[in-house]
Structures are given as C-alpha cells and as structure tokens.
C-alpha cells in the first residue's frame, strides 16, 4: 500500500518543555483523519516515549510519520551515542538516564518497553557512537 501521508518533525536538544510537541500534533491530525481511538492512543504513547528518549539520551533527532490505509509507521532517528545493550534496554525498569533527568521524573526505565507494548512491530537499529533508529508500526 502506497503511503498517503508523511509528517516530519525535528526534536530539539534537551528541551523538556517541548517534549510531546510532535506526538501532540500527530494525535490531532489522526483524530481529524478519523483513525480509530485505539490506534491514536498507541501512536500517542509510543511517540511521546520516543521523543523523551531522544531528548534524554540522544540530544534530539528527527521523527518521520507515514500514514497509509493499513498502518502508521513511526521512524525516530538520532545521531546519539547508540544503545550498548539493546536486550537490557528493553527490560522494564532498566535505565541509564542521568540523575538530572531522573530528578525531573523521567528515566524510569519504561521508555523502550512502553514503545514496544504500544506498537504492533518495533525494530531498533543502533551503532555505538553513530546513532539509533527506532521504527515502530501500528496497524490500522
């Protein structure tokens, strides 16, 4: 199925007050498109977690959302430090977030697990010192 719509966002570096801007805009658009509430909920949560991750660990990054008639694909790409142990990072409660971030109430180690929980398919491509690209697919 050809992609019918593409949305692009830039997540800025370490600005927590702006975290959630992309997910908020995507959410609003999906409601206008008439996407099912359940799919909207998954996209909103997965994307927000992703945005926070990018700010905490990767000094920001880029988000591409493509919408087709049967799925929504979220691609979050950053040029951050990469994930050393993906398997560990996927465990609930495991966190490498710095204290500064934890003191703000983030970094509970639920980011990636929550993203996986709310997507039908998730793929992580990561290389130390180069960056990480997380792709999530939510079926419609």
């Amino acid at each position: 199925m050809a992609d019918l719509m593409e949305l692009n966002y830039v997540v800025s570096n370490e600005d927590f007050t702006r975290a959630g801007e992309a997910s908020s805009d995507v959410k609003k658009k999906l409601k206008q498109l008439g996407v099912s509430p359940e799919a909207i909920r998954k996209v909103a949560i997965a994307l927000y977690e992703g945005e926070i991750n990018m700010i905490i660990h990767a000094y920001g990054g880029k988000i591409k959302v493509t919408i087709s008639e049967d799925a929504i694909t979220l691609i979050l790409a950053d040029k951050g430090p990469g994930i050393a142990d993906v398997e560990k990072a996927m465990q609930a409660g495991y966190s490498t977030a710095p204290d500064k971030v934890r003191s703000l109430g983030f970094g509970a180690g639920m980011g990636l697990p929550n993203m996986k929980k709310n997507s039908d398919r998730m793929d992580i491509q990561t290389e130390l010192g180069v960056g990480t690209t997380v792709t999530m697919v939510i079926n419609l």
Binding site: M5, S24, K29, G34, P37, E38, A44, L140
Partner: protein, 428 residues
Amino acid sequence: MDHYGNSVYLIENLCKGCTNCINRCPTQAIRVRNNKAVITPGRCVDCGECIRICPHHAKKAKRDFIDATDKYKYTVALPAPSLCAQFNNLEDINILLSAIKSIGFDDVFEVSAAAEIVSEESRKYIASHKEQWPLISTACPTVVRLVQVRFPNLCDNLLPLITPAELAGELARKQAVEKTGLKPEEIGIFFLSPCASKVTSVKNPIGMEKSNIDEVLAIKDIYPILLAELPKFVEQPEDLSRSGKIGLSWGITGGEVGGLLSDACVAADGIENVIHVLEDLEDDKFSQNLEFIELNACNGGCVGGVMNVENPFAAKAKMQHLRKYLPVAAARSDKYGEYNVNWTSEVEYQPVFELADNLKESMEKMNRIEELTKELPGLDCGCCGAPTCKAHAEDIVKGIARKQDCIHVLREYIHKLSEDIAELSEGI
C-alpha cells in the same frame, strides 16, 4: 452524528464581527461570516468563554426565568453551592435559603446536600473500578462535552454518575410528591445555575434520557431579587440547610476531590488547563496510581461560572469562611431512601473534527490543508473570520471559505493585478 443544541447564542445586532470570540474559543467553533460570529453546531461545548470575552455583549446564554413558576402547582428551588458565595456578610446559609423560598418557591433543596451523596457514591465507584483509573469528574458538563468531541480515548474514564444538581432534582421531586400528593409532573424543579453549560445539560442530558430538572434560572438574574429579600431573614431564618463542608465545597475547585478523602487525585480548572490535563492523560503522562481527576472549565470552579455575579476568587474566600463551622458532611445516602445516581445511557465519542468519512479522502484533504497553510501568511490574525491560518485552510478545503478571504492574500492579488494592468496599458 448526534448533535446537541447549545445554550450560547448570538445577539446579531450587537455583534461587530471582531475577532475576540473566534480566538478565545477552545474548540475553534466560531467563525466570522458576513461580519457576524457564527457558532458551528456540534463543536460548541458551552464553556462560556465567548460570553466572557465579547466586548459588545453580543453572546448570551439561553435560560429560563422565574415567571415559569406559574406553570407548576408546587415548586422547589435547587441552589447551586456557588450561589452561597455570592453575597457579602452572609453568615448563615439558612438566611439565603429562606430568602430563596420567599421569592416564589414552595421549598428548597440544596444541590450541596445531593453533592455529599454523589461524593459518597463516587468513593464507592472509584474503589470498585480500578480498571477505569483515573476516573474523570463528570460534574462539569463542558468537560464531558469536551472529552466527547476531542478525547475519544478518555470516554471510558468518565465517572458514570449523574451530577449533584440532577440528583438533587430527583430527590426533591420525590420528597415533594410524598409531601403534597401531587403528580410528579405537577411539581416544578428549578435549578439556580452558575453557568450556561448546565442549562444545556438539562435540555440535552448527559448519561440519562430525561433530566430531573424542569427549569434552569441564572444566578445573576435572581441575584438582585434575593439581595432585597436577604435582610428580612437575618434575625429568624428557617432551618432549611441540610449540607456540610463537603457539599458546599463542590462550588470551588478541589471541593469534589476533597469529598473523595484520598490523596491520589488531581484537580484543575480553567478551560486551557483542563485541555492540557486531558492531553497529558491521553499520552499516559500521569502516575498509574492516580485515582481521580477533577476538572472544572471555569477558573476557580463553579464560582467562576459565567452566570455568577461575584469575582470567582472573592467568592472562593467567602465559601471558605461560610463552611468553617459546618459539619464535614450532613447529608447521608441512607436518609433519602431509594434513588438512582448511575448513568443510564451511553456517553460516546462524537467525531466532529473528522475531515471525511474515510481515511483516504481525509488524507487527501489534510495534504491540501497542509499545502494551503504554507501559502497563507501564518499571522493568525483572524481577519478572514477563522481563528488561525490553519483553520482557514481547513475551511477552504471544506468549501466554506475562499483563499481571498485572507486580506493579506487579497492584497497581494490586487497588487499583482494592478501591475498586470499597468503593464498592459503601457502596451496600448
């Protein structure tokens, strides 16, 4: 789609076609067309913001008036908790209740008494429905309508209990029937309301087929009449009050939460803050242990209602003074026999913002909206009649506005046209 009528309406000859209301509306429900503000049916949530902001007083709220008492054989007034906070130096609620009776009612039944029962029922419901946490308060009809049109994922979190005013109506009618032997329809139940949205919720009930209230009067309409009556009852008021701290406090933000006797609650007020909380809740940003969220569309809670008289913050101080020596709660459910406090009909998502019936068509429209938005100046000046350039682009795609309605686009167009004419005339 299930459209409900609104209480907010326009007095056309007063409207100057300015941009104040279109910018303030939280659901972008208003457009200026032919120099008059037009409310889009279905989108309006009766928050009253446009009534507050309009410098020309061209927005009003529909409501009933006190002469409606003539229609009934027996009448009961239901004063909202916030009514008690409208007067200076009121030391005893019984003075106010006696004055209300004297202006044309056979009896009074405080909404705050019913509120204490709703608090009790809410505690039970919350404790036994952990899967719905956090439950969202449904006492403010504007909040419920807002969730219905903008937050499809939160409809299941709405507390499915009727409002204190509705329960007061139910109990008051039952008591009146028992006392007088009249038929239920011969009794007139009059709610003395702080806001427009509660008028709407009586005409178009939430979670129930038919409202328990017959007429809704605005506090600001009866305020001057009450003011004249109050001094007569200062010395010897009738003992009519049946509510305590918990019930009265429902009139201010935090009052409903206070009645839940739990710390795992959040309370917010003001329409923008309410939207912010709902957005965050939709993104799962709150703690998993949060039990309840109280939301009031008006600043300060119901004391901030657009049909109240007193400044909301002054009213809050009066409320705090008034409740000081009251018992924690005076009304208990076992005093009132049988009643129904549960919703009996579904409250569902109303997708008023959808662009088309199917995804493909919606996406085509949205792509065009995005393109058009880039071509507009991005000033959000409102001169075209829509609140933002984006909203204007949506209107163009929907076929209800033209690109040249934007004065900046029009100016460029005319500029180019005059250049073309000049060029042409040079060639003659």
